[in-house]
């Protein structure tokens, strides 16, 4: 289901109280002009799955869902460094690229992934 950014917390709270208590993954797709963030959540009782999608403009920040799903911790950290999305409402430490000196988030389409290739 597609929702707005403002509805996210409310929607997820609603879903988690109706049994969708397992967060499978948070991921994002870079469509150059905007980003799509997808929350895969699952009902562990009847094994049904739901995905909640929202569009983010470039440079927009994302509210944290760690209050609702504890598992969101690592995924949000990953998102923030792989796509450069700022996360509201929590301190986000670096995760995978702790010692990385690259300026740009590597999974954005604008990332020059071949730049290092020549120098090596």
């Amino acid at each position: 289901m597609k929702i707005n950014k403002e509805e996210l917390i409310k929607k997820l709270k609603e879903l988690s109280s109706s049994g969708y208590n397992y967060l499978v993954k948070i991921t994002a797709v870079d469509y150059i002009d905007h980003l799509e963030v997808i929350y895969f959540i699952r009902n562990m009782q009847n094994k049904k799955e739901e995905n909640v999608r929202l569009d983010l403009k470039n440079g927009e920040s994302l509210p944290t869902v760690i209050e609702i799903y504890k598992a969101a911790d690592y995924y949000e950290r990953e998102l923030s460094e792989m796509f450069g999305i700022a996360i509201e409402g929590r301190e986000v430490k670096r995760l995978l690229l702790e010692k990385w000196d690259g300026l740009e988030a590597p999974l954005r389409k604008s990332f020059q992934w071949g730049s290092d290739y020549k120098s090596g």
Binding site: V29, F40, K47, A71, L96, E98, L107
Partner: protein, 363 residues
């Protein structure tokens, strides 16, 4: 007084390159902060810049303990996108090979877990010997010892050799005997029981909230297995039963994996009986793959370490975005919760019981 200890990045028991900053109060762990990313190489980005079937080899290197499971996961995603589905025999062949791979992976886990507990290398060499036999069998089928790259669109690269069933049955008999020995060796050892029972308890609610997967989730009493709940290949026909334990401690995690190995043997045996005649070969790898039909693909597979998921947004000849859900990544995030309150000596047995592969965590 609190002491901070830095463990790793290179330490004998971190199963790869993992850095833990442990805060200790005496001998009790107050906090563990994992620092990961030492093996990060950007598989997702690399896959975006490759043709579909070129990436299969990369996928295998994500989890080098069970490479075939990952190549199956990826190829299944491409199959879903292109609409080329494996035939009945190919499904069985894949299932047999994957279950062998699962046994090999769990055997290696058992060896390293005993190493973490302080049984220096005895169990390790025993299980590695058995694993070698499985690898030899897989080598007979695929031609390679570790990285097989044998999954093709709609099948496998090489069909099972003619004497495969005989060899496999012999190996399974041997393995069954060995598992009994291992169980007797470990479960009758009071020190082993003492070191694992009641250690690193993860309750059912916490397991769901933290999103852990695979044997760790099942050891906490959650009845979930992708092989049954999002069934694929021939698991439904073979009456697959997920293995559940309720205690959620290290011993339960050990037990789940032990039972899973036995269940895998059962699955392979019945699959060998039911396998239809015919041809299991898939399409040979070509640079230009068949046209893509789906816009977005979600594929789930039960990997040896837990639920693996691929979310792929497709482009014409290569993925526009490939998002991997690696099981070890999320299992590691639960370490903080599990290890809190344990003694320092137990930290590594807890870490071992989660069955982490650091390349799987770091992607």
């Amino acid at each position: 007084m609190l002491t901070k200890i830095n463990v790793g990045p290179i330490h004998p028991s971190t199963h790869g390159v993992l850095r833990l900053v442990v805060t200790l109060d005496g001998d009790t762990i107050v906090d563990v902060e994992p620092h990961i990313g030492f093996l990060h190489r950007g598989v997702e980005k690399l896959a975006e810049n490759r043709m579909y079937m070129q990436s299969e080899s990369y996928m295998e290197k994500i989890d080098y303990v069970a490479p075939m499971a990952y190549s199956d996961l990826y190829v299944a995603a491409v199959e879903e996108a292109t609409g080329i589905h494996p035939n009945e025999r190919a499904k069985y062949v894949r299932l047999i090979l994957l279950e062998f791979q699962r046994i090999a992976s769990h055997l290696l886990w058992l060896g390293t877990f005993c190493n973490d507990l302080g049984l220096m290398f005895t169990m390790f060499t025993w299980t590695l010997k058995d694993r070698d036999l499985i690898l030899n069998l897989l080598q007979d089928v695929t031609g390679s010892r570790m990285f097989y790259v044998n999954m093709r669109l709609g099948g496998v690269s090489i069909d099972l050799p003619p004497n495969f069933e005989e060899h496999a049955n012999k190996l399974l008999d041997y393995l069954e005997k060995r598992f009994k020995e291992y169980e007797a060796f470990l479960e009758k050892n009071p020190v082993f029981i003492e070191r694992t029972k009641g250690v690193g308890v993860l309750k059912r609610e916490d397991a769901i909230a933290l999103g852990v997967t695979g044997p760790v989730l099942r050891a906490s009493g959650v009845n979930f297995d992708v092989r049954r709940d999002y069934t694929y290949y021939a698991y439904e026909k073979l009456h697959f039963i997920p293995q559940i334990q309720t205690k959620g401690d290290s011993f339960a995690r050990y037990k789940v994996r032990m039972q899973e190995m036995k269940e895998s043997i059962k699955l392979i045996r019945s699959a060998l009986k039911l396998i239809p005649e015919g041809d299991a070969l898939g399409m040979p790898i070509k640079l230009i793959s068949p046209p893509v039909k789906e816009k977005e693909v979600i594929v789930r597979r039960e990997l040896p370490r837990g639920e693996g998921m691929i979310f792929m947004v497709t482009d014409k000849q290569r993925p526009y975005r490939l998002s991997l859900r690696t099981p070890a990544f999320i299992n590691l995030s639960a370490l903080k919760q599990i290890a809190k309150g344990a003694s320092y000596a137990d930290l590594f047995s807890i870490l071992g019981s989660l069955d982490l592969v650091m390349a799987d965590v770091d992607k």
